[in-house]
């Protein structure tokens, strides 16, 4: 990425890359990284095996024990229907993280096809695909997400696609420029010169060398994706109750801030914590990646 805005009308920058750049220069201490890593590990365990951490049923109601404060029996208290907030937060990890991860994955997958096609299909294809990316980049991510939800309807699946659509065009531009660099590199020339069939060159050389560097960027995007997913839930368009998604739980708990702060506080902390941890780890990985490529 150049540090000077190009005079063309192409969007001034790929936002993710710029944001990532902004984020990565903090010299991350290994202790912090270790803590973040540990936290993420817990989050991953909660995603894969929620029952290991919280044995209760996240949707079991208990009207008599509603709005109980945090204590020995209910670590994070209970909500307005007497559901255990700890159980719900742990089981909710699955939805919040999955929406973020799946959206990033889907967005990246689409971007790889999109960017590669632009880089390899010749001038006309490149122009059409990149103008389309420009058009989408010209729109706020949240507006795109809202449009997607008009089509898919509310819910976990709709939210995933909505967030993915916001991620894809920026990535597509990065993939394209990366692919152009790789295509002009010596080993691709060599492979073509050796008579390796074109499709095989694409699959064997161009794809891996293009996608590799993206993975780090993806980690950094994951945080933003989780956040956007939660925002959609907050607007009432994402995961629907009683799904214990963090954003949806925040919304439900918001009405009880006066009487039962714990309903909204814990999913909020988990949300911020996860995004924070993902960002710290992602930036650490990126720093390593760059040091490796420099040396």
């Amino acid at each position: 990425m150049t540090s000077v805005p190009s005079p063309s009308l192409a969007p001034p920058a790929v936002p993710e890359a710029a944001v990532a750049k902004a984020r990565r220069q903090l010299p991350v201490r290994s202790v912090v990284v270790a803590l973040a890593g540990l936290f993420l590990l817990l989050v991953l365990v909660a995603t894969a095996f929620p029952s290991l951490l919280a044995s209760g049923d996240p949707s079991a109601t208990d009207p008599a024990g509603a709005l109980a404060a945090p204590g020995a029996h209910h670590w994070f208290g209970t909500d307005q229907l007497g559901r255990d907030v700890f159980d719900r937060v742990v089981h909710g990890t699955r939805y919040s993280l999955a929406i973020g991860a799946a959206a990033t994955g889907v967005g990246m997958g689409a971007a790889v096809v999109w960017g590669l096609a632009a880089a390899l299909l010749g001038r006309f294809g490149d122009a059409v695909l990149m103008r389309a990316a420009d058009a989408l980049l010209a729109l706020p991510g949240l507006l795109l997400a809202l449009m997607v939800i008009l089509i898919t309807g509310k819910g976990v699946v709709g939210t995933t696609f909505a967030v993915a659509v916001g991620v894809a065009p920026g990535f597509a531009r990065v993939v394209r420029s990366q692919a152009l660099v790789v295509r002009r590199s010596g080993y691709v020339d060599a492979a073509v010169g050796l008579g390796v069939p074109r499709p095989l060159v694409v699959v064997r050389h161009i794809v891996p060398n293009t996608v590799g560097p993206l993975l780090v960027l993806a980690t950094l995007t994951l945080g933003a994706a989780i956040s956007t997913g939660a925002a959609l839930s907050y607007l009432g368009l994402g995961a629907q109750p009683p799904t214990p998604e963090w954003g949806a739980m925040l919304t439900e708990g918001q009405g009880y801030l006066d009487q039962a702060w714990w309903i909204a506080l814990f999913p909020g902390l988990l949300l911020v914590g996860t995004v924070l941890a993902v960002t710290v780890v992602g930036r650490y990985a990126q720093g390593r990646d760059e040091r490796r490529s420099v040396s």
Partner: protein, 548 residues
């Protein structure tokens, strides 16, 4: 805990308040001018009210939204006034006669009324309004509908007007009392749909004049100094006491309640149940609440669905829900468990015989399900039959309510899975309803007319035809009871027929009535004279603010 929804929603699941009459329920109060108010009414001052919804279209003749009728009530008067307890009395019409066996209504109009743009109110103005409502170009989504078998309006003399119907139409007087049939200045009716809908050209004869409006923010109302035609039941006559009223549109419940608690507004509507107790605890605030009469919020069981065509399964479903506990925990004492289809406040319709007649009984429910073949259990504890889980499909428009989630949790204990299929796609939801692809539909319909039962149980009122017979009831006996009730002239006879229908519905387990809903408004204690109208919205006419 329903937020008030638009009628677009209503058409699907929760039909709006057609009309309401009622009394206060449990702890609530519906009038801040009750004894103890002390000081004498004060003229002047202003009041700010926060509400959750904002009308899309402000023309009550066009809009089907509940909120439109509320925000335009201060501006538009009607021919007839319905008092908070449901009595109909003269307003812009000083009297009326019903002729031709109920097919014509002749109104004598007040002669001292002028619109706030200076136009005289007369028979021609009334005709212009009814013509506007029924004109094709108006594309009325609701007002034309409640005119029923309307034929025409004739000006008999300058202050006498006759409205004719093609068949006897009893509900007309009540309809004429709603804001939907409010009388607007004939001059504005030709302004064009966009201006009327934008809310910038609302001119009526009401106690307040529509002033500045900023979409997404607020509308301001100024006092109409010439007002002297209030209905008799109003607490006063002459101009309104408040100089101005401001209605703010605040969609976030937490923000709305926060504004009330920090006294940034004087009153706030659509209070979530959990906040009502908190607001009531605040020594400078009080809660006005009023039960909605009409068909209570209920599960209508689809008797044609594969699951619920078996009456044993229906009965098991009906007896598996611990409504007493659920209503208590969700509504925190602000709602009441229902036993019959019609709320206790519905005139000539409530059937007390049903009270306590079908308490929760999971043992009985279990026995019935065993008999019906649902004997297996899967890993999550749900009952199964031939490997298939006992799942009850419930299409939901928008977001599932806290109450239905609570029911979902409760049914799980009985091994029944309630699948709340939430969707924002109105077409998808109405498609499911039209095709009968559901097991239950949750809905209610506030109304003062017990004939609301016909909407749900007359065999011809299917969802495809625009009715609400979600249970697919097609029983000649039920039809004949309903028709007899409509024709009956004696209230007691009507009540007897409606009671038969309600008892039949419970015995056949085609319905599970759940709770009687309250509309609640949080009000600062220095606001006096604010009262809940028949349709459970606050009336600003008699209100004043102490020491401000």
């Amino acid at each position: 805990m329903h937020p008030r929804r638009t009628v677009r929603t209503a058409a699907l699941l929760l039909p709006l308040v057609v009309a309401a009459a009622g009394c206060s329920l449990g702890g609530g109060d519906d009038d801040t001018s009750k004894p103890g108010a002390g000081a004498a009414p004060r003229s002047g001052g202003s009041l700010t009210y926060a509400t959750d919804q904002e009308p899309d279209c402000w023309d009550p003749h066009v809009s089907a939204q509940d909120v439109t009728s509320f925000v335009q009530r201060p501006v538009f008067d009607s021919l007839v006034y319905q008092t908070p307890d449901g009595t109909l009395e003269p307003w812009l019409a000083s009297s009326w006669t019903i002729g031709d066996g109920g097919k014509t209504y002749t109104f004598s109009l007040r002669k001292d009324v002028t619109f706030t743009d200076g136009t005289r109110f007369d028979a021609a103005a009334v005709k212009a309004n009814f013509d506007h409502i029924t004109a094709k170009a108006t594309q009325s989504q609701y007002a034309a509908g409640i005119l029923g078998p309307y034929v025409s309006t004739t000006v008999v003399d300058p202050y006498t007007v006759k409205v004719s119907f093609s068949r006897p139409y009893g509900p007309f007087l009540q309809a004429a009392s709603t804001t939907y049939l409010g009388i607007a200045s004939p001059k504005t009716l030709t302004a064009g749909a966009d201006k009327l809908c934008a809310g910038t050209d609302s001119v009526g004869t009401g106690p307040f004049i529509a002033s500045t409006y900023v979409r997404g923010q607020q509308r301001v109302y100024r006092r109409n100094p010439a007002y002297k035609w209030a209905p008799k039941d109003a607490a006063q006559s002459g101009p309104a006491r408040l100089d101005s009223v401001t209605i703010r549109f605040v969609p976030e419940p937490a923000t709305r309640v926060g504004m009330l608690n920090s006294r940034q507004v004087d009153a706030a509507g659509a209070l979530p149940a959990n906040q009502q107790t908190a607001v009531a605890r605040n020594s400078s605030l009080t809660v006005l609440s009023k039960a909605d009469p009409g068909a209570v919020d209920s599960f209508y069981l689809n008797t044609k669905s594969p699951l619920f065509s078996d009456i044993r399964v229906r009965q098991a479903f009906q007896r598996s829900i611990d409504l007493d506990a659920l209503v208590k925990s969700v509504f925190l004492g602000t709602g009441k468990r229902a036993w019959g289809l019609l709320a206790p406040t519905t005139p000539d319709g409530y059937d007390a015989a049903l009270d306590n007649s079908w308490p929760v009984d999971r043992t009985l429910a279990g026995k019935l399900l065993d008999e019906a073949g649902w004997t297996g259990r899967d890993a999550q504890g749900y009952r199964t039959k031939n490997g298939k889980r006992l799942t009850v499909r419930a299409p939901v428009y928008g977001q599932a309510t806290v109450f239905s989630q609570a029911v979902q949790g409760d049914l799980k204990k009985a091994g029944i899975q309630l699948d709340l299929e939430a969707s924002t796609d109105a077409a998808e939801v109405s498609g499911k309803l039209d095709k009968g692809q559901y097991d239950v539909v949750e809905t209610g319909w506030a109304s003062t007319n017990p004939d609301i039962l016909s909407q749900f149980y007359l065999s011809t009122n299917t969802s495809v035809g625009g009715g609400h017979n979600f249970s697919h009831v097609a029983d000649p006996q039920v039809d004949s009871w309903l028709k007899a009730a409509q024709a009956a002239t004696e209230p007691a006879d009507r009540a007897a027929d409606y009671a038969k229908v309600q008892q039949w519905a419970i015995q056949q387990a085609v319905v599970v009535p759940m709770y009687v809903e309250n509309s609640s408004v949080g009000v600062a204690k220095n606001v006096k004279g604010l009262r809940m109208s028949v349709s459970a919205w606050p009336e600003f006419y008699g209100a004043w603010v102490e020491g401000k």
